[in-house]
């Protein structure tokens, strides 16, 4: 991944669950729903077709009960190491039909490296322009993805397989 600091946002953490468990949390819909949105937001629906061109769909619910559906498409899948998807495309690589002015486009990569018994975790959000990066930053990328990751760790520790 070539990171451009003007256009990208990066979250790096070392966590004490294994890449295998982090991978399960990201790729099994019933697990993902447990941690994906920082509380008090919830994830009420999730669809995962884990192959390049496959759909990654979530519905996030606000504390007031408003639903925010999100559609993306997987691009690269390296089990337990790398997951890449974008919301610029939908299932089957079809360009997204969402109005780009309602949100911003990003391509996300989650990179996992074994680190002792845990994982070096890197999440990258790539944008097409500085305005989109800023919008994502202002929405609270660092705090939001950070809190969701804490929830992931907590959930996977409780439900260790």
């Amino acid at each position: 991944m070539v990171i451009d600091p003007r256009l990208d946002l990066v979250l790096e953490r070392t966590i004490d669950v294994s890449p295998e468990l982090v991978w399960m949390a990201w790729t099994q819909p019933e697990r993902l729903k447990k941690w994906f949105t920082p509380a008090p937001w919830t994830t009420v629906d999730c669809e995962i077709d884990l192959r390049p061109g496959g759909v990654f769909r979530t519905v996030m619910r606000s504390p007031e009960g408003r639903d925010f559906p999100s559609l993306g498409c997987y691009l690269e899948i390296v089990p337990q190491r790398k997951l890449v998807w974008t919301d610029a495309l939908e299932a089957g690589y079809r360009p997204s039909r969402q109005d780009p002015h309602l949100s911003f486009r990003f391509t996300a990569s989650v990179l996992l490296e074994p680190h002792g018994k845990g994982t070096k975790y890197t999440a990258i959000a790539m944008h097409g322009d500085e305005a989109s990066r800023k919008k994502h930053d202002d929405m609270g990328f660092q705090a939001g993805w950070g809190k969701a990751l804490e929830q992931l760790v907590e959930h996977m520790k409780k439900t260790r397989v």
Copy 2:
């Protein structure tokens, strides 16, 4: 490929050059420049990084000498059978920074099947909405891609390897 007739444009032809030669014409910049734009338009530059996430860049020149650069990203590559790319993304899967109101987004697939000594050739352009499909259709997708394919056949017959 799942084709949606409301959103997609399809060109199908049977041509008398082999999938191997069609593949070369689509994946070698110096060859692509010979046929890619229907005359009197020309293709004056071409960059191909033939891997998922790699760049597909062309510059088309109008008869009046105006240049139209185009940036895309390869998604799927099955040598001599299938080539998929999109202009919704740039190199490294970064969302495109082009203004979506200046053009339209599409994902293109070129599918090749051996047919005798020739090729059953299918080109599909997928769009996110009906307006984009119509814009591409009105621009002359059928005539343009059809004429370019005739140029491809003519060029590869002359330069048989």
